[in-house]
């Protein structure tokens, strides 16, 4: 499925967080959103996965205005890996993943063998098949994140939205998670912090700062030394690694903070 945003604005508590943003994710494209903290990445994604309602503009999902699609219907096609993994109640890992089947179920439907198969396959995909009977709350942050991905996979989505999906994951699983998403071959929109990973996996990048799009294009177009300084106010070297063919971004350390603090105190 493809996703198109046209002049989308999002206002939260009378403050305009997202200012007239248009972007497009084609079928099978892996698109990244990068930008500093508080730039509006999560807010924009929330508008896409329907937790927030845009105050202006339209979101087209599969060519149709998302507001005209019922929540139940869109959940069959739109999977989300978000940052909201706190659960106060004891669910087993398998129960958690099976909940991904919810949009495909009606009131009277029980979980079928098929549902179990899909859930277990999703668990195997994220390498958590041995944890089926563990309690979700006892898992580590990274393991929880993988289970949430498995739940989204069990939804059998045609599109994935990921909000900093590599949070809490060690490097192996950061790579694994993004590879899984990429291998699905469905459209994906992800907010990412790690520019090296973004460069490696994304076909297109959008840069969001202060609620505005300040750049977009392929990773090579977007991730230049000058642009990165503009976005994050840091210095770095950007090289194309001849062996791997990927961009390699090496950051320069920022001046020690304590000097500045002393001056402020004086």
């Amino acid at each position: 499925m493809d996703l198109t945003l046209q002049d989308v604005e999002v206002t939260v508590e009378k403050k305009k967080i997202i200012k007239s943003i248009s972007l497009a994710v084609g079928k099978g494209e892996f698109v990244g959103i990068i930008g500093p903290n508080g730039g509006g990445k999560s807010t924009l994604l929330k508008a896409v996965y329907r937790v927030l309602k845009p105050s202006n503009g339209t979101i087209l999902f599969g060519g149709e205005n998302i507001e005209n699609i019922s929540l139940h219907t869109s959940a069959k096609q739109l999977g989300v890996v978000g940052q909201f993994n706190t659960v106060n109640f004891d669910f087993t890992v398998l129960e958690m993943v099976l909940m991904g089947r919810t949009p495909h179920k009606k009131v009277f439907h029980a979980d079928t063998q098929e549902d179990y198969k899909i859930a277990l396959q999703a668990l195997a995909q994220v390498g958590m098949q041995d944890a089926v009977n563990r309690q979700f709350v006892t898992l580590s942050g990274g393991e929880k994140q993988r289970i949430i991905l498995a739940r989204a996979l069990a939804q059998e989505p045609k599109f994935l939205v990921l909000d900093e999906p590599t949070n809490h994951l060690d490097i192996k699983y950061q790579l694994q998670l993004l590879s899984i998403v990429k291998s699905l071959g469905i459209g994906a929109l992800a907010a990412l912090h790690d520019l090296n990973l973004a460069a490696m996996y994304c076909t297109k990048l959008y840069v969001l700062k202060n609620g505005c799009l300040i750049a977009d294009g392929t990773p090579r177009e977007v991730l230049t030394k000058k642009r990165i300084h503009e976005i994050y106010e840091i210095d770095c070297d950007v090289n194309l690694d001849a062996r791997t063919g990927f961009l390699s971004i090496v950051y320069h350390p920022v001046l020690p903070l304590h000097d500045m603090r002393c001056e402020d105190a004086g």
Binding site: L71, V80, F84, V87, N88, F89, D90, V107, L120, Q129
Partner: protein, 359 residues
């Protein structure tokens, strides 16, 4: 290798499912056994053989031989409706507690969290203190208590919905505010009325009692709890998703604000009915869901039947204690549920293996 593993696990899950079915069947038997045993306890000693003869007579028209009509009335007009009331009220409160905990995603929620108890108390105090006055429009304590409960819940929902989104946190806080406000109003009424007889009635009412149960007063709470039970049993899947929080629920296609509002209104009406007919008793709606959850887990498809059955059984026996502990008469059942519930809850809290929400 991966494939064989994938196929093996559902068998394990199925076995687990069978195990839960056995629990439900066992509990259902326990419920019927409890009803039949509880009917033999009471201040008037009646032989079990006589008791069952009376029940068989009333239900299937079997002949009664040499049994006094007074005994038959005690069993059939007093004890039976009271025990059934205990079963329905116990099941209902435990169910409402479970639904509330899911709705506000807070393990400490209970049916009274939205100010229902304080509202019902105010209504009851109003009716008791002004007993016989024209102001009551000819309605009794029950109707006024119910009206108070609904008023309090409406006020909480209104307060929580003011200024934008209705968050669960706002709802819990609004519940606390309304409880304080209605509590003050009730106390004010008690204070200015200066009516000793009324005060004792109020005290008795706020500690709960099933003594008023009759076949015709049983109808409303019984019917309400049954319908509510069917409704919520069919929504187990949605209740599960509710526990995941607002965002996750939306991404799984559940219209959480609408669902939550429906659930809260239904719980409020049910709790209002229960409180109006039996007064207030705590801990059933809080402890039973946790106790059952600690055994079967948080999945409502397994939790809900267990909660209904255990709640019913628990209150039947609490009521037996309330009828038999004191020779002089009924002990308010609220005292008993708290006496059993509080230590049990503490035990659950200190059992490390059970999670109450801290990660």
């Amino acid at each position: 290798m991966m494939q064989s593993r994938v196929i093996n696990i559902p068998e394990k899950v199925l076995r687990k499912k069978r195990w839960f079915w056995m629990i439900w069947i066992g509990l259902t038997f326990a419920l019927f056994a409890s009803i039949l045993l509880a009917v033999c306890f009471g201040s008037v000693k009646i032989e079990p053989a006589v008791v069952y003869q009376i029940i068989l007579n009333k239900m299937f028209g079997m002949p009664l031989e040499g049994i006094s009509i007074a005994h038959a009335d005690i069993i059939w007009q007093l004890r039976m409706p009271r025990i059934l009331m205990a079963a329905f009220v116990g099941a209902g409160l435990a169910m409402c507690g479970t639904v509330m905990q899911a709705s506000v995603q807070n393990p400490l929620a209970e049916p009274y969290i939205l100010g229902i108890a304080s509202g019902a108390s105010l209504g009851a105090v109003f009716a008791i203190m002004l007993g016989g006055s024209k102001l009551l429009l000819g309605f009794g304590v029950t109707v006024w208590a119910f009206a108070g409960a609904i008023l309090a819940t409406t006020a909480v929902m209104f307060l929580a919905g003011m200024g934008g989104q209705m968050s669960t946190m706002k709802m819990v806080l609004a519940g606390a505010v309304i409880s304080a406000l209605f509590g003050a109003a009730a106390n004010f009424l008690i204070y200015i009325a200066n009516n000793a007889e009324g005060m004792r009635n109020v005290a008795f009412w706020t500690m709960g009692s099933l003594a008023g149960a009759k076949w015709d007063t049983l109808l409303l709470p019984g019917g309400g709890v049954s319908i509510g039970a069917i409704f919520f049993l069919l929504r187990s899947r949605k209740l599960n998703v509710l526990l995941l929080g607002e965002e996750a629920a939306i991404t799984l296609g559940i219209h959480i604000v609408r669902e939550r509002r429906i659930y809260m209104v239904i719980t409020a009406i049910l709790t209002g009915m229960i409180v109006a007919s039996c007064g207030i008793f705590g801990f059933v709606g809080l402890v039973i869901p946790h106790a059952v959850r600690s055994v079967v887990g948080a999945d409502h498809r397994r939790l809900m039947p267990g909660v209904l059955l255990v709640g019913a059984i628990f209150l039947i026996w609490a009521d037996v204690l309330s009828r038999t502990l004191l020779r002089s008469g009924d002990l308010p059942i609220g005292i008993i549920t708290a006496l059993i519930g509080a230590p049990f809850f503490m035990w659950l809290l200190f059992r490390r293996s059970f999670n109450f929400g801290e990660n």
